[in-house]
């Protein structure tokens, strides 16, 4: 037992190498996912804050630095409070204003459109802010040998950067297209807009690098900062393939969707006559787009692996430098297998739920009969039968996939160079009192 730990004496300031490992079996997460799913159902969803917390504690504790675990010290209560505050400050006012706009400008499409436009811009302005706050909360709840991590900067600054680095190129493309359309013909303007949108994707590596620099330079472990030295240039060669591949994939998907809609008057039936399509008719469309997203994720894997290594390779701490060992192929398998896992889990849940409905639910004739919809009580019973398998399965697969992703990235992360651990003292920065409410509302808290 002694041998796995670095035998350093008390309080030595001698620099020592840091070994990063991830020791955890993902099989054990299946049981945890199942229990969390059941508890979520029993508590009408409220347990999800504690479920999330336990998953994090397991992932953090599986991460070992020189054999000693990293600790996650956040609590479910903090997450719940953060969520409730954002619910009161953001979600409820948005809901009420939506109802108010509908009432005041009854049926006016322009008013609703304007309202939704403003809402989307406001949300987009908040997303970066939310990401930063969530990251700050998680780092402040991350400890190793009792020393906390932290993020010492302004969420507003990061949020603004997150916004303008995308909004500015978009506006520029739109303005340019507008001028061209005015000077020549609307069709030319439209073409320029399309090209502008495609070209705009080229800001993404630059933007990712800029955002990574901003957040990394704000990071602390104890009283010591992390620094970032990367530039976007080296990212572009690999990006060319991701961009081209995705353009081809999405063009094919759009073509297939268009061809399918044109067949058998589907477009006319659905969009002009407004006849709701049958589920069977939607299945091919769902299949096309699921395949497209999978193909896109696969093609993007090589770029993403390279970007991850780039980010790690330019992150420094106390004279040591991180190193990422992700590869396109391994990342592709991770993404693909996690997708298949989620889809398989959902299908299994639907099969179980369908069997339950068939056995205990409303008579199938009434369910299938599209003219005479089942009455509400029967619908509720069917919902009660199908929801538990879905909640349990999605919680289970999500937990499993999350653990696998963490293992993937952490087992491919190295730190080159010794660090004088004894010299790192507890930081003086303030800990945020509550957890990441905003990020939970936007559903962007991946871990």
């Amino acid at each position: 037992m002694h041998s796995i730990l670095q035998a350093a004496g008390p309080g030595t300031d001698q620099p020592e190498p840091i070994d990063i490992r991830f020791d955890g079996s993902s099989g054990r997460m299946i049981g945890l996912g199942f229990i969390n799913g059941v508890l979520k159902i029993l508590t009408l969803g409220l347990y999800s804050f504690w479920a999330k917390t336990e998953v994090r504690r397991r992932i953090w504790a599986a991460t070992r630095l020189n054999g000693e675990p990293v600790a996650y010290t956040g609590t479910g209560k903090e997450l719940l409070l953060g969520f409730l505050i954002v619910f009161g400050v953001v979600v409820i006012p948005v809901m009420l204003s939506g109802v108010a706009v509908s009432l005041l400008f009854a049926g006016s499409k322009e008013a609703l459109g304007l309202y939704q436009g403003v809402l989307y811009i406001a949300f987009f302005l908040l997303v970066g802010n939310a990401i930063y706050r969530a990251q700050r909360y998680r780092l402040s709840r991350t400890e190793w040998r009792g020393i906390r991590g932290g993020l010492d900067g302004s969420p507003g600054r990061y949020g603004w950067m997150y916004f303008w680095t995308l909004a500015a190129p978009f506006t520029a493309a739109a303005v340019l297209a507008g001028i061209v359309a005015w000077a020549t013909a609307p069709a030319v303007g439209g073409a320029i807009m399309l090209l502008g949108m495609l070209g705009m994707l080229w800001v993404l590596p630059w933007r990712a690098n800029k955002l990574q620099a901003a957040i990394t330079n704000d990071m602390r472990f104890g009283d010591r900062p992390l620094t970032y030295s990367g530039t976007a240039g080296p990212l572009y060669k690999r990006y060319l393939f991701a961009w081209g591949g995705n353009a081809l994939i999405f063009a094919a998907a759009l073509g297939a969707t268009g061809a399918y809609l044109m067949q058998e008057d589907r477009y006319i039936n659905w969009f002009v006559l407004k006849i709701p399509p049958a589920l069977v008719e939607l299945a091919p469309l769902a299949a096309i787009w699921v395949l497209t997203l999978i193909a896109s994720a696969v093609v993007t894997s090589w770029y993403r692996a390279m970007q991850m290594n780039h980010f790690a390779g330019h992150t420094h701490f106390e004279g040591a430098t991180f190193r990422g060992e992700a590869t396109g192929r391994s990342l592709m398998w991770l993404v693909l297998s996690n997708w298949l896992l989620s889809i398989g889990g959902l299908l299994a849940a639907l099969a179980i739920g369908g069997t339950l409905i068939f056995a205990f639910g409303t008579a199938p004739r009434e369910v299938i009969d599209e003219v005479a919809a089942p009455d509400r009580a029967a619908g509720l019973l069917n919902l009660l039968l199908i929801m538990p398998p879905i909640i349990i399965m999605t919680t289970l697969t999500a937990t499993f996939a999350q653990f696998r992703s963490a293992r993937y990235f952490l087992s491919r992360l190295k730190l080159d160079g010794p660090v004088a651990l004894g010299a790192i003292l507890q930081g003086a920065h303030k800990r945020p009192a509550r957890g990441e409410g905003l990020a939970q509302v936007f559903d962007i808290d991946a871990f």
Binding site: H2, P10, Y47, V91, M95
Partner: protein, 379 residues
């Protein structure tokens, strides 16, 4: 109380710097005993002050402990035996104990909430219906206009003056029978679907398909009476409040962005009535027709017609309208309800000339946008 007298090797950090010291750790009677060498130092962390970095599993190979009695400090013990014995001395650190401690209040809270809701409904009180009753009339009208605008999107309003006048006459006759202060506003849309629905604020929408398929003015009167019946029972208002409440609950549970609620039209388009609501509307319709001295045979005939169309629909799988055909009590049953009513003296719902005008109401159409109040500036 198990206590292994042999000390276990551990690593102690005081939380002031990122260094660690060797320690010997022991499970004592009242707490974990930690002994440090050079300089010699001994601490006891009481069991009930302990926290573990992750729940201590049966097969845990190590454990990272902190104590509320010494904030910042932590001790890491890489020993399966220590972890197993710790579970016995400090059972609150096990996964089962932790989960139940966190979930228990919410499990009981959820049970209590569900019991409360069940009790309210068992007592026959519908809180949503009561809320619908106190909505101001101007709000109802606006909600109704919103609903009409989003549901009839892309269809023109039928506007032949004589046809519109005929429908107004029929609506006035039934509204008077209902004792309504203002007559129900009926809009006919140039829409081949066979359909009719009531929206909040005393408004009813009918389609060209319905007028064309109806065999007599009494049938149209029967359908209108049914929709007015929904209006009297406040079913559209109740449906909207229920939909908003449901959407809010879903947002709360899923942690959504609230964007779904901004599109009221979408909400309104999903409205459907329960079996009970349809029955209530049918009963209202029967009373209304009687008070207005219009034969209820028309309503019965219409149900018969719907039944035939339902059968056709099952074969052709086309044109699935919402309210009228999606009525939940089987159509034959509803027809029987109407047929079982006693006969009473009645006159045709409309004279022959007006009926012919009503059938031609869609020969002239106009954009609903030009009809002030349906689409455009606030009233």
């Amino acid at each position: 109380m198990p206590s292994n007298s042999t000390a276990t090797y551990g690593r102690f950090s005081d939380g002031r710097s990122a260094s660690a010291r060797d320690a010997s750790v022991n499970l004592g009677l009242s707490g974990v005993e930690i002994r440090l060498t050079s300089p010699d130092q001994q601490m006891i962390w009481q069991y009930d002050t302990l926290k573990a970095a992750e729940p201590v599993r049966t097969h845990a190979i190590d454990v990272l402990l902190t104590s509320t009695s010494q904030p910042g400090a932590s001790v890491f013990v890489p020993s399966p035996d220590f972890a197993r014995n710790l579970r016995l001395s400090a059972p609150h650190l096990t996964a089962r104990a932790e989960r139940w401690r966190h979930a228990r209040p919410w499990v009981f809270g959820s049970l209590a909430a569900m019991g409360f809701v069940a009790l309210i409904y068992a007592a026959g009180w519908s809180p949503i219906r009561s809320m619908a009753g106190v909505l101001p009339q101007s709000w109802r009208e606006r909600l109704g206009e919103s609903a009409v605008a989003s549901m009839t999107e892309g269809h023109k309003l039928c506007a032949s003056p004589a046809g519109v006048a005929a429908m107004e006459k029929l609506s006035l006759r039934l509204s008077k029978a209902a004792g309504a202060s203002t007559p129900y506003k009926v809009a006919i849309y140039d829409w081949p679907l066979l359909n009719a629905f009531a929206v909040p604020g005393g408004q009813v929408v009918m389609t060209k398909g319905l007028i064309e398929k109806a065999g007599s003015p009494d049938e149209v009167a029967g359908v209108l009476a049914h929709e007015i019946g929904h209006g009297i029972e406040l079913h559209p208002e109740t449906g909207i409040i229920r939909a908003i409440g449901l959407a809010a609950a879903v947002e709360l549970m899923m942690g959504g962005s609230g964007g779904a609620l901004a599109n009221m039209g979408l909400l309104l388009a999903q409205l459907g009535y329960t079996r009970t609501a349809e029955h209530e509307a049918d009963l209202q319709a029967i009373t209304l027709l009687k008070n207005a001295a219009i034969s209820n045979k028309g309503l019965g005939d219409f149900f018969k017609r719907v039944e035939t169309i339902e059968d056709e629909d099952k074969v052709t799988k086309t044109l699935k309208p919402f309210d009228l055909l999606r009525t939940h009590p089987p159509t034959a049953e509803r027809e029987k309800l109407v047929r079982n009513q006693k006969d009473y003296p009645s006159t045709p719902a409309l004279d022959e000339a007006s009926w012919q005008e009503l059938k031609r109401v869609c020969t002239i159409t106009k954009d609903p946008a030009k009809d002030a109040g349906v689409d455009g500036a606030p009233l």
